[in-house]
């Protein structure tokens, strides 16, 4: 079954960070990322009752479709496709290995959709290292995934932008964190925090 608390927390984190995300997108993009993510988060929160009755896979698909039909911009198709793909690929309940596999499928779907590759200062630069940590497995996984997500988002600041709006900025994007990457880190962070606080001390159940 879908974990409503995790969904509520992850979406709420995005809503709470709307100004930060706006500022990041203003620095290297067109300034709408915060509002886009908030619109998507609110659309998901409006469906919490419906989601509560769904399986993890159904819920991921519902959330993906909600993103796709309410967000627009780059984030709509990107987060939508990611969630829909995860919904297709994940067993319920998921294992870390299964999550790694599903995330790999998600990254491939995004690459097909948006023609971006890892290293081009998009949220792929968070998803890819996180996928690798999951695939590797091991102890303290939730904490390590969380740290990896935030560190990877921060690391986008050093990258030249070559996809998305920031691509028009070229070298001038240097020094600024990619807003979509920050969003992904916030979502992953919220999920990992939730899992950790709940599953202590079972550190393996990411």
């Amino acid at each position: 079954m879908a974990d409503i608390d995790l969904i509520r927390n992850a979406t709420q984190t995005l809503i709470d960070h709307v100004d930060e995300l706006t500022a990041l997108d203003q620095a290297i993009g067109d300034g709408d990322h915060g509002l886009n993510m908030r619109r998507g988060a609110l659309a998901i929160q409006a469906r919490l009752d419906e989601l509560a009755g769904q399986s993890l896979n159904e819920a991921l698909r519902t959330m993906g479709m909600a993103c796709m039909s309410t967000i627009g911009g780059s984030s709509g198709p990107v987060f939508g496709t990611l969630l829909v793909t995860l919904g297709k690929e994940l067993p319920d309940p998921p294992t870390a290995a299964a999550l790694a596999g599903a995330l790999d499928a998600g990254i491939k779907a995004l690459t097909r959709l948006g023609k971006a590759e890892v290293g081009q200062k998009t949220l792929l630069d968070v998803l890819d290292p996180v996928q690798k940590v999951l695939a590797e497995g091991g102890g303290q996984l939730a904490g390590r995934v969380r740290d990896c997500a935030f560190a990877s988002a921060d690391a986008t600041a050093a990258m030249d932008a070559i996809k998305g709006r920031a691509s028009f900025l070229g070298e001038r994007a240097l020094g600024h964190v990619d807003p979509g990457s920050r969003s992904v880190a916030l979502i992953i962070g919220a999920i990992c925090d939730g899992l950790q606080s709940r599953a202590q001390p079972t550190s393996q159940s990411a």
Binding site: G31, L35, G73, G76, P77, I162, R165, S167, F168, G170
Partner: protein, 329 residues
């Protein structure tokens, strides 16, 4: 932020309601404001659908009507519309001859329109507009942005659709007009996305952003404010370099305001560009001046040059009856 609004959340829908009321003779607003469509679709005609983030008015909603678009899907300010909107629009205006999407080359628009195109069950094709020469194309970029040249593509392809051209021919025409069209802009001030509440970028009192995008995205470089003649020289220099036209070539000149620049200055820019194009022995066959592809209240302008031949000139001159462009009928 100083704007004539009630509530940032309802700005778009209130504005669309006003637009639909003001132009009820030309357009109808789709369910939930998902799209604006031509009031009387023409049976057997390929349906032209465009759309994109709002804040560029009159683009695209102002170009819906006879001889131009059949529908436009308005997204939130500076945010691509969703595939749902495009699907709803296609359903409303397709009359069986297929749908041509006209899409500005931004990753958001590209992805959303692409998803719509994959889901749609009628014949369809897509023309991608990428006329902005400000940022050099390279293997590492999404490519050039689609800016004011979009108007020219929509007008010319719209006229061809109105006379009954088929989907493949329209797609080819759109691609070739796009290829013959180049633009570049300059910003003197920033715009303010209503929901963000503060200017998209900070710019000094004596600075300008050369090559700015229509979302206030950074351009080539931030430089000292220059004279209109110098600005015209840099913008048209980049454009002419890209198009490499032969002397004697007929062109359409579009001097486009970004929203906060008075007509008086735009006409002064027309004068400045005129002198330059004359110097290159290019013939300005048509000239359009005004704020057509805007960035909210940003001050600045873009120059667009589009190489024309007798066929495209005739299509440009063909009757059009939309909220923002209106001639010949």
């Amino acid at each position: 932020m100083k704007k004539l609004i009630n509530d940032v959340e309802s700005l778009l829908s209130e504005s669309l309601d006003g637009f639909a009321a003001a132009h009820a003779d030309i357009v109808t607003l789709g369910e939930g404001g998902q799209f604006v469509r031509r009031r009387s679709p023409k049976p057997g005609k390929v349906a032209l659908i465009s759309g994109g983030g709002s804040g560029h008015e009159p683009l695209h909603t102002g170009f819906v009507g006879h001889g131009m678009l059949d529908a436009a899907c308005p997204g939130q300010v500076f945010t691509s519309p969703t595939p749902d909107q495009m699907l709803a629009a296609a359903q409303a205006v397709d009359t069986g001859a297929g749908v041509l999407f006209i899409v500005k080359n931004y990753s958001g628009d590209m992805m959303n329109f692409q998803m719509a195109a994959e889901m749609i069950d009628c014949d369809n094709a897509t023309v991608i507009v990428n006329d902005d020469v400000a940022v050099e194309n390279s293997t590492y970029t999404t490519g050039r942005r689609g800016v004011a040249g979009t108007l020219i593509v929509e007008k010319i392809v719209g006229a061809a659709a109105e006379r009954g051209d088929g989907l493949a021919a329209l797609k080819a025409l759109g691609d070739s007009v796009n290829k013959a069209t180049a633009s570049m802009g300059v910003a003197l001030t920033s715009c303010t996305v209503p929901a963000a509440g503060k200017p998209t970028f900070q710019i000094g009192a004596d600075e300008m952003e050369m090559g700015v995008g229509i979302h206030g995205e950074p351009g080539r470089r931030r430089v000292r404010l220059a004279s209109a003649d110098d600005i015209a020289a840099e913008l048209s220099g980049a454009i002419l370099k890209d198009l490499s036209l032969k002397p004697g070539q007929e062109v359409l000149l579009l001097v486009n305001g970004f929203g906060g620049t008075p007509l008086m200055e735009l006409y002064l820019m027309v004068n400045a560009v005129h002198k330059i194009l004359d110097g290159h022995r290019l013939k300005i066959a048509r000239c359009l001046t005004g704020s057509y592809v805007t960035s909210l209240e940003m001050a600045g302008c873009s120059i667009t040059v589009s190489a024309m031949d007798a066929a495209t000139l005739a299509l440009w001159d063909a009757p059009v009856h939309t909220a923002a462009l209106h001639w010949g009928m």
